[in-house]
Amino acid sequence: MSVSIPAPRSQRIDPKYKRGPKSRGSFEMLAWLFMRLSGVVLIILIFGHLFSNLMVGEGISGIGFGFVAGKWASPLWQFWDLAMLWLAMLHGTNGVRTIINDYAEKHATRAWLKGILYVATIFIIVLGSLVIFTFDPCVTGSTLPQC
């Protein structure tokens, strides 16, 4: 039964529990606040989106290129979807960031995962925004009457 026993333990802290340097500024607070504010707005945006896409008219069966073109003809829906895209992506990204912080213990793993997350987020937001702004009802394959 020879086991090595660590040195006297008084006030010894397992390195795992040593806190890193203090974070500066109020980023975490703002992120927290943003989660709640964006959450409230997202409820309206997402419920409106789901309702108009899936509940009224023919619901899911009615969705197609024409449906999208019809919607984005109105600046209101353009703005609606743009806001939803941004808020949901930022909200979701921040959420996933917290989750990574929680469960990825190694610093390097954390950095990698968050790197991938941010790249994906930027890509999706930029892509989505471009799609909404540069939407062209007469893209190849369009069978809309105005083309």
Binding site: I46, L54, G64, G92, G141, S142
Partner: protein, 126 residues
């Protein structure tokens, strides 16, 4: 060393399990959102391709998935409101449990309404 103490499950109460639900639904929605933006982006490439993708959404299997997703969104949304009330309403921490029951009731009602309409459309049209 601490593995031995954390290996087993903590039973927790409603609060903990609702948080687990909130977290899981949050991630699910996020992953879906990534895909959803990509597929919607097809409208910028080719209208036919977009329609083709959307038509897969219209199959019964995808409709079921879609229903699940909405279930997740509804829970996440209502529970999100509960969390906001817990944070900002003075009595929020006191009534968190009652609010959770409220969330679940609301969730069942709204989800039932949605599911009936959505599934009848999805299955009806095929």
């Amino acid at each position: 060393m601490s593995k031995t103490s954390s290996g087993t499950l903590y039973r927790g109460h409603e609060g903990m399990w609702s948080w687990v639900g909130h977290r899981v639904t949050g991630v699910v929605i996020f992953l879906y959102l990534l895909v959803h933006v990509l597929d919607t982006a097809m409208v910028r490439v080719d209208a036919g391709a977009y329609d083709a993708i959307i038509s897969t959404y219209q199959t019964p299997w995808m409709a079921l998935g879609e229903t699940g997703l909405v279930a997740a969104i509804l829970f996440h949304a209502f529970n999100g409101l509960r969390l906001i009330l817990v944070d900002f309403w003075k009595q929020g921490t006191k009534y968190q449990r009652q609010m959770l029951w409220g969330v679940l009731i609301l969730w069942v009602i709204v989800f039932a309404g949605f599911a009936i309409r959505h599934l009848s459309i999805a299955f009806g049209s095929h």
